[in-house]
């Protein structure tokens, strides 16, 4: 527990210093702020245009689907901010930066995350909130006082699911000495979490719930806020899935690091 607190403290310090540094170079900062917002705005327009052409999918209205999509963007943005080591194989294994990481008294995954952190991805959260807000108004949703807390909990859980799966896949680099294209693989699969699972056939639904539980990043938790009571049990289960999958990722990672150090051979 002390270790987790230590790690979180260091992340907070880093982000604080990052944005402080950014603010010090004011013109740069505002330039990037504007370009990031424009980027997100283009995404937004694109999404709205696409969904204009989507009628009703299996009992889900268009606005509900937009809401799910908006929700999904938030854990995804946080995930891509904290787990930005898409070039892990190249940078840490082939170029050997992992060696340096191993000479520091902080968990090596935390260090890798900290070194590849992409704080600008935080803007994705804003886009997600705007989309959700728009959909919520259209749907005339109402929220209780504890919903914001549940929201934060569900978002963090969603991030941990992605983080866990991604970490486990990145850890493959420890075992194989060839270049592995992990990012395209993840990219393909993560697309599925954005849409209601019951539009897919049974097999995919099973996979998205139990094997690569990306449905827990978007649909299930969002269904809670849409007051779809059939999915409540799944939504409630989200934090458990988050913790379990992140733990799996961590175990695979640690195993990989031991292999890297040559404990096994």
């Amino acid at each position: 527990m002390g270790e987790i607190k230590h790690v979180l403290g260091i992340f907070a310090t880093y982000l604080g210093q990052y944005f402080k540094t950014r603010l010090a170079y004011r013109t740069d900062f505002f330039g990037e702020l504007v370009s990031n917002l424009i980027n997100e705005l283009i995404n937004l327009v694109f999404i709205v245009v696409v969904f204009q052409h989507v009628p009703l999918l299996n009992d889900w209205t268009r606005d509900e689907i937009i809401f799910i999509y908006g929700f999904f963007l938030i854990p995804y943005a946080l995930f891509s901010m904290f787990f930005g080591f898409w070039d892990f194989n190249e940078r840490y294994i082939i170029r050997g930066e992992m060696d340096r990481v191993l000479t520091r008294p902080l968990h090596n995954l935390a260090q890798v995350c900290l070194e590849s952190i992409a704080p600008d991805r935080i803007f994705g959260v804003i886009t997600g909130l705007i989309i959700m807000g728009y959909a919520a108004i259209q749907l005339d949703l109402s929220f209780t006082w504890y919903d914001p807390f549940l929201f934060v909990g569900l978002v963090v859980s969603g991030m941990l699911i992605y983080g866990g799966v991604y970490t486990a896949i990145a850890a493959i680099s420890f075992f194989s000495d060839s270049r592995t294209g992990i990012s395209p693989m993840i990219w393909n699969i993560q697309q599925y979490g954005r849409y209601p699972v019951d539009v897919y056939n049974k097999v995919i639904r099973f996979v998205l719930t139990y094997v690569l539980p990306f449905a827990f990043v978007g649909v299930y938790p969002a269904a809670y806020f849409l007051r779809k009571e059939t999915w409540y049990a799944y939504a409630a289960f989200t934090p458990v899935v988050g913790i379990v999958f992140f733990s799996i990722g961590l175990v695979v990672w640690n195993w990989g690091v031991r292999k890297y150090s040559g404990a096994g051979s």
Partner: protein, 336 residues
């Protein structure tokens, strides 16, 4: 401080068969070849020593460093450093060491070095007041004060490297590893870093291990040298002894006032094992292999017997010696 006994590291390397058919067979049964990267390495280092580990590329240097820093686990033998066994107590052990990899950066690109230092301080849980005093001293001695607040990406290599050294020392380690710290640096920066290291060794009694291809680094910093070749330690001793062992010896060039032949010189020197080379009628060179014992004798005898107008002593440079070591095969047996 450092105790290394019979250290071994073996790698299993997959031997790919030739051709497409071979590749197909590889899918089912793989052939491995065991390579000994480090073979029966033993040495010990006292606290406060400054020593260099040298060897050709592929001699097992980096594998050794990786085992000493706890990155790799040895396949045999044992290492005890600062009372820790690196691969078993890694997290505690790495708190007591600092590592600078010349080719890799440990500073955050988007932050200023000062902010990276602050982050590293919290990584190592450095005590605030004491840590700040130490950091102030590092900044002053490495002369990095004028640019520590600029983002790392705006610094030159020399500026960055000095910051890297400071970053590796933030927690005041007792042992510092430097893996090719001066690659690509200009002479002035090299000198600054060396001066700083020497001073650190003097005042803090910090143990420093250096691996390098730059012979001037070794000459400037280290008394003791370890030489590795093909995974084995082939030399462990003082730099001067290294020169005696692998140097081509010392040459003394005498300029005579009168015509002197090699035979005349030989008679004077008697049975002394040395080589006499004739340059011209007035100049002869005497080459001795062990300078410490023979040089005084040669000088005094020749000066007493002939009229000499000029004497030049030419000692083999460390660079020549290292070249010699690298080019001779490892037939030479190690000594203690």
């Amino acid at each position: 401080m450092i105790q290394v006994n019979h250290l071994q590291k073996e790698f299993r390397i997959h031997q790919a068969r030739a051709g497409l058919g071979g590749a197909f067979r590889d899918l089912f049964s793989r052939e491995y070849k065991t390579v000994k990267a480090v073979d029966d390495l033993s040495f010990s280092v006292e606290e406060g020593e400054m020593f260099a580990l040298i060897g050709e590329n592929g001699a097992g240097k980096s594998t050794t460093i990786k085992m000493l820093t706890g990155i790799l686990n040895p396949s045999g033998g044992e290492i005890v450093i600062n009372g820790f066994v690196p691969q078993k107590q890694r997290e505690d052990y790495v708190r007591s060491i600092g590592v600078v990899f010349g080719q890799r950066s440990q500073l955050w690109w988007d932050l200023s070095p000062l902010e990276s230092f602050r982050l590293l301080k919290s990584v190592y849980k450095v005590e605030e007041h004491e840590g700040q005093r130490w950091l102030d001293r590092l900044i002053e001695e490495l002369d990095i004060g004028s640019f520590v607040s600029q983002p790392v990406r705006k610094l030159s290599l020399g500026q960055r490297m000095r910051c890297e050294v400071a970053a590796a020392l933030i927690h005041k380690p007792r042992l510092l590893f430097l893996d090719e710290p001066t690659v690509g640096l200009d002479v002035l920066v090299k000198q600054k870093i060396r001066e700083f290291l020497r001073n650190l060794n003097d005042t803090e009694h910090m143990t420093i291990l250096l691996t390098t291809h730059d012979v001037t680094d070794i000459e400037a910093l280290c008394k003791r040298v370890l030489v590795m070749d093909k995974g084995k330690l082939i030399f462990d001793g003082l730099l001067e002894n290294l020169k005696e062992k692998w140097g081509n010896g010392t040459e003394v060039a005498f300029q005579f006032k009168k015509r002197t032949s090699a035979e005349e010189l030989r008679t004077v020197l008697g049975e002394l094992p040395c080589e006499i080379i004739r340059e011209n009628d007035f100049a002869l060179r005497v080459k001795v292999s062990r300078s410490q014992e023979m040089l005084p004798f040669v000088l005094s005898t020749v000066m007493a017997s002939f009229d000499i107008s000029d004497v030049k002593i030419m000692e083999a440079s460390t660079e020549d010696i290292v070249r010699n070591i690298y080019s001779t095969d490892s037939e030479v047996v190690s000594h203690g």
